[in-house]
């Protein structure tokens, strides 16, 4: 059998897989397939592709939807937010390893400058909730204000309309409500701005009750897993 002849059979395999050959052509090709393992293997593979074709809608083959112009900026803004958080985690990790002397010195600075007055000297905090169900995300940014703490809380992956109640836990274990919001799916902005009278420097943890579940994450950097 010549190479050309072989190629002719081979190039009929697609039409055969799709059921497009005449009876005569089919009979001829089937006789060839009996003795050609390569063509049999190729046919099997092409038939698998052919079986997927009915899943596609040929009307959908036109131009795909255009990428929204500002989506790239939003992606990069999310990444920048993530990077700030991971830097903070790295910093905390480094701090933990940096030896007793540095730790004591830093603790002394904290005690002198932050603990007595609290309030605005505390650095703002980014908190990413670590132990959450797979589809859920909660994050918060806490900023020191003269009145206490301003909270920017964002959630995703919860039911639309779900009531989210936020509280701060002080270093002496008291829980103070920081207000509530409802998560609306598809809203322009899933971030809520809340406020609390508790100074950020006196805040140990932030908690959020979503429906009947409560999630708590530490704020002071001491308890967060990196």
């Amino acid at each position: 059998m010549t190479a050309d002849h072989n190629r002719e059979w081979r190039e009929s395999l697609g039409a055969y897989a799709l059921g497009h050959l005449s009876d005569e052509e089919r009979a001829g090709l089937e006789a060839h397939l009996e003795g050609c393992a390569d063509c049999r293997a190729e046919l099997e593979s092409l038939s698998a592709v052919g079986r997927l074709l009915p899943l596609a809608d040929p009307e959908q083959l036109g131009t795909p939807p255009a990428l929204p112009r500002d989506l790239g900026d939003r992606v990069m803004a999310s990444i920048a937010g993530e990077r700030r958080q991971s830097r903070r985690r790295r910093f905390r990790f480094g701090f933990a390893l940096s030896g007793a002397t540095a730790a004591i010195a830093a603790a002394a600075i904290l005690a002198i400058f932050i603990l007595p007055g609290g309030g605005e000297e505390a650095p703002s905090q980014e908190v990413a909730f670590a132990s959450l169900p797979p589809k859920m995300q909660i994050g918060a940014r806490l900023e020191p204000r003269p009145f206490g703490t301003e909270l920017h809380v964002y959630v995703s992956g919860v039911r639309s309309g779900e009531l989210c109640r936020v509280f701060l836990e002080s270093k002496n274990g008291n829980r103070l409500s920081a207000g509530s919001f409802r998560y609306r799916w598809g809203g322009e902005d899933s971030q809520a701005t809340l406020s609390s009278g508790l100074d950020l420097a006196r805040t140990k943890a932030i908690g959020i009750r979503v429906g009947d579940r409560t999630f708590v994450e530490s704020v002071d950097g001491g308890g967060e897993a990196s």
Binding site: A15, A56, M76, S78, E82, P134, R159, S160, G186
Partner: protein, 169 residues
């Protein structure tokens, strides 16, 4: 530290310009809602960034990896949607087709978009429109044997393109 492909912001920017459009197309087709699709793409890159150091280009392409992440995001969004009662406030109820089927449909459609025009045309005309090869050959001004061989090479190209869209069946 492993040298992953997504450890710098520049890597994300490049990944987005190379694959953002396709990922978005997939998300729109799967979710049937442009707003949710945008959320899904954003979430995909955030998850990719978080896992950036674990990405190993020697195991698979960045594109395949991003698609695998997006697929999970779409499934998560689909689950959240299934759990949500009623219609979203102020929104249009998104597509409710079974998710896996839509994912597969998109993969086949995307693969068809990716193969050459000559190949796509003969597959669309013969398979989807059920037109005889002779008629297609006449319209294209080529011998009937050429139509037949284009169907063959078209299916082969489709097989490769399907793998690129993450189809692993």
């Amino acid at each position: 530290m492993a040298s992953g492909a997504l450890t710098r912001e520049q890597d994300v920017r490049e990944a987005y310009s190379a694959h953002g459009s396709e990922l978005y197309g997939f998300a729109v087709r799967s979710l049937g809602d442009a707003g949710l699709a945008e959320e899904a793409v954003q979430e995909t890159f955030v998850r990719a960034w978080r896992a950036g150091e674990r990405f190993d280009p020697q195991i698979g392409s960045l594109r395949t990896w991003l698609f695998a992440i997006l697929r999970n995001v779409v499934i998560d969004l689909g689950r959240a949607r299934a759990a949500r009662p009623g219609v979203a406030e102020g929104g249009i109820e998104p597509s409710v087709e079974p998710l896996n089927e839509v994912l597969l449909s998109w993969q086949v459609e995307e693969a068809l978009r990716r193969i050459g025009e000559d190949h796509r045309r003969v597959i669309v005309e013969s398979f989807y429109r059920g037109r005889p090869y002779a008629e297609i050959a006449e319209e294209l001004g080529v011998p009937e044997g050429t139509v037949k061989s284009r169907v063959y090479y078209g299916l082969r190209a489709l097989r490769v393109a399907l793998e690129e869209t993450g189809y692993d069946g």
